[in-house]
């Protein structure tokens, strides 16, 4: 009852103070609207980009639409402008960065970035944006080039397919030629086979003709015989004895006449013989000449058969080679056939990455848990500190203090007042977030309020503890602000806690602000109920701070008494 009395009194006092009232209602409203408006931007703008290059074509590659482009002759003058805060980032392009080929712009070379690292968030956004733009451009160029190459390869493939068809035809033609050659060789072989016995016969005949001189010998013998006959005839006519010997002259004369006739006949034969020998010799020569020609024919025939065989063999070899080439060509054509222009992207970007953010909400939606926690810690700590200080430094405090009431009544009263007022403020924040920024508070309203109450309670108690410990308004508010700032800075809001040294990281990861933020993130963004670990830790903090407050109040009582 007394606590309720205390709470009602405190709320009346706060509500009746116009400054407090405006801060109470308008403050959070203004805060969330301002933050909402400020964080609603998704794109960078009013950026002054410095370019160190003589080539104005770079503008087209960058496709920079977030602000103005300023050209500089050298890096130093651009860097100077960054120092003066007139330029946000400088890009130094290497010489001849832009090349033109087949009326196409091809950028190649290096780009040096100069930026102010103290403004890391902006620098990162700018670098990321420009790299993305340049990367896309480079990729676009590479893909176009690759497409051209692949197009040419495709043309080559088509040509090679045509050539392969030609070579297939060639093989067919070669086979046809080979067949002809084989037939021709067979024909020639057949001729040769048929010719050879005749040839042998002719050769034998030639041999016989050349070696058989019987006729010449016979003619010669005949000539000798005739001569002997002639000699005999002549001698018989001169030797009468011979006539006596024969006893008949008539007979001898008749014999002579006969002999003369024979002789004449023999001479005629001999003449004919000589003529025949002459003819024979002539014929022999002719036969020899003929055989020589036949030899030649045979030689050419054999040679032709051999050459045809050689040609067939060469043709077989050529066909085999062409076939081998065709086979290789098939394999290569198959591989080349796979290189299609549509594969250019895969070749340029062999690793395809896809980023899938779990949420695709607006900035303010995503930042709402952080904004909420930040507002709660700043408002809770400062508000509870100021409310407590106002009470402690109030002229009415002495009167309240000497009332026969236990201290916890006042402390609890102030604490509950703070929690109620802050819940009211945060509720306004929730309403605006729900209605204006589409943050679905209603979906998990109980859990959100549960976490909100714990966070508010914890930071209110910290603010109160500081107020009870340091009653001087100036000192107390300064200490509260300082501690709030430490808590705020030791979180991932400015720098990721994972970047901090291990010792600080330990502290930062146990930072109640970080825990509150994590709990709000889980429930507001993901609707996950795994926030209990954070809540348990926050409750432990709540217990510790309550204990601290109890100790401070006990010391104060000891001091007074």
């Amino acid at each position: 009852m007394k606590i309720l009395n205390e709470v009602i009194k405190n709320i009346k006092i706060i509500v009746r103070n116009w400054t407090s009232l405006s801060l109470l209602v308008l403050g959070p409203l203004l805060l969330i609207l301002l933050i909402g408006f400020a964080f609603s931007g998704e794109e960078l703008h009013n950026i002054n980009l410095g370019i160190i290059s003589e080539d104005k074509e770079i503008e087209h590659i960058l496709n920079f639409t977030q602000g103005n482009i300023n050209y500089f002759e050298d890096a130093e003058s651009c860097i100077e402008k960054i120092k003066e805060s007139n330029v946000h980032i400088c890009l130094e392009f290497s010489k001849n960065f832009i090349k033109t080929s087949e009326e196409k712009i091809i950028p190649t070379g290096t780009i040096n970035f100069y930026y102010d690292p103290s403004d890391k968030a902006l620098a990162n956004l700018l670098i990321e944006g420009i790299q993305k733009s340049l990367g896309l451009k480079a990729q676009e160029i590479s893909i176009t080039s690759a497409k051209t190459i692949f197009g040419k390869i495709q043309t080559l493939v088509v040509f090679l397919v045509g050539a392969k068809e030609d070579s297939e035809n060639l093989i067919a033609e070669a086979y046809s030629i080979r067949k002809d050659l084989v037939e021709r060789r067979d024909f020639l072989t057949n001729i040769s086979d048929n010719f050879n016995p005749t040839y042998e016969t002719i050769k034998n005949l030639q041999n016989i003709i050349n070696t058989n001189n019987d006729f010449e010998n016979s003619v010669s013998n005949l000539d000798e015989g005739i001569d002997k006959i002639d000699l005999f005839i002549n001698s018989s006519m001169n030797y009468e004895d011979i006539t006596n010997l024969t006893n008949t002259t008539a007979n001898i004369t008749e014999l002579n006449l006969l002999l003369q006739s024979i002789k004449q006949e023999l001479e005629n034969i001999r003449n004919y013989g000589y003529i025949s020998v002459s003819y024979i010799n002539q014929t022999r020569e002719n036969i020899n000449l003929l055989i020589y020609q036949i030899d030649q024919i045979k030689f050419y025939l054999d040679e032709e058969i051999k050459r045809t065989d050689d040609n067939i063999a060469k043709l077989d070899k050529a066909i085999a080679r062409i076939k081998e080439i065709n086979s290789n060509l098939d394999t290569n054509l198959e591989e080349l056939g796979k290189l299609k222009p549509e594969l250019s992207k895969d070749l340029i970007n062999p690793i395809t990455t896809e980023f899938n953010p779990l949420l695709k909400e607006s900035n303010i939606y995503l930042l709402f848990p952080t904004v909420l926690t930040t507002i709660i810690i700043f408002i809770s700590m400062l508000f509870s500190n100021i409310v407590t200080l106002s009470e402690l430094n109030s002229t009415a405090y002495l009167r309240s203090f000497i009332a026969p009431v236990k201290r916890y009544v006042f402390v609890t009263g102030i604490f509950l007042t703070n929690v109620i007022i802050l819940l009211l403020q945060i509720s306004i924040l929730f309403i605006v977030a729900q209605l204006n920024f589409g943050v679905n508070i209603l979906k998990n309203v109980k859990d959100i309020y549960f976490i909100t109450i714990i966070v508010i309670a914890l930071f209110s108690l910290i603010g109160m503890l500081i107020a009870y410990r340091f009653k001087s308004q100036q000192t107390s508010i300064l200490i509260t602000t300082f501690i709030t700032l430490i808590i705020f800075l030791m979180s991932s809001t400015v720098v990721p806690v994972e970047l901090m040294p291990d010792a600080v990281y330990m502290f930062a990861s146990l930072n109640p602000y970080v825990l509150g933020q994590a709990a709000f993130n889980k429930i507001i963004l993901f609707g996950s109920y795994s926030y209990l670990n954070e809540v348990y830790t926050l409750l432990i903090y709540l217990l510790i701070v309550s204990l601290g407050l109890f100790i401070v109040l006990s010391k104060e009582r000891t001091r007074n008494h």
């Binding site: 009395n5 009194k9 009346k12 002229t395 002495l398 009167r399 309240s400 000497i402 007074n560 008494h561």
Partner: protein, 243 residues
């Protein structure tokens, strides 16, 4: 028959760190008395008053209320003592009646008709017509009376008034003292401090002069003035503290 003190302080000592602020103080306060408490700055007057109202607990000594030792029961003392400060000890953003209601609940006053009771208090200090006005909006004299009224909420037997008329014009001073006397007449015991000795001389019966944490004089004002051969209390006070 010897009068029994309503409140007694026996051998009271109070130190802060090494500095002794109150030293072996003995004081008896009688019913319906208006006791003036005087002393130079730094004499221990404020500390003594805070002991009287239960803000400080003495390091040693006893506090006796109506014959009962309540030294260790500071809440008992707080219930019987009302306190009016030299500053306005109330909430300016509450109305006059809300201030009274707040303190009434703080003191566990559960009257059937609390509003009537609180209204009667406001009427007694002539503030009833402004009961719904914010305390911060009323005049200086009304604020002093409101402060006085708040100290009456829990119906204390003893009222400790610290410089109650500071900053008031003479007419308001007189009016305020009239109210004090009215409550004295109703049976309240008043302990009052003031730098304006004329007021004390005119309105108080007894005075105790505190110097360096000890009483240098305690007694009826007239007797003390005679003792120091002074026409005015201020003269007597100067003589006492310059001893």
């Amino acid at each position: 028959m010897k009068e029994i003190p309503i409140l007694e302080f026996r051998n009271i000592n109070k130190s802060f760190k090494d500095k002794t602020v109150l030293k072996d103080l003995d004081l008896s306060v009688y019913s319906k008395d208006i006791l003036a408490l005087a002393g130079k700055s730094g004499s221990g007057k404020s500390t003594l008053m805070k002991v009287m109202i239960g803000f400080y607990k003495p390091d040693s000594g006893s506090i006796i209320y109506k014959g009962k030792n309540i030294t260790d029961n500071v809440n008992e003392l707080r219930k019987v003592v009302g306190f009016t400060t030299q500053e306005n000890s109330f909430y300016e953003n509450l109305t006059l009646i809300e201030n009274l209601r707040y303190y009434a609940k703080l003191y566990d006053i559960h009257k059937k008709d609390l509003n009537s009771y609180l209204s009667s208090i406001l009427k007694s200090v002539e503030l009833y017509n402004s009961k719904d006005v914010l305390a911060g909006k009323v005049s200086g004299g009304m604020k002093r009376r409101l402060d006085f009224a708040i100290s009456l909420v829990h119906e204390p037997d003893i009222l400790v008034l610290d410089e109650p008329t500071t900053g008031l014009d003479p007419l308001l001073v007189k009016s305020f003292w009239d109210i004090i006397k009215k409550f004295r007449d109703k049976g309240k015991t008043i302990i009052v401090t003031s730098h304006i000795f004329e007021e004390l001389d005119e309105n108080c019966k007894r005075i105790c002069v505190l110097d360096k944490g000890s009483f240098t004089e305690v007694g009826e004002i007239d007797k003390i003035k005679s003792k120091y051969n002074a026409a005015k209390l201020s003269e007597a006070f100067e003589k006492i503290v310059s001893k």
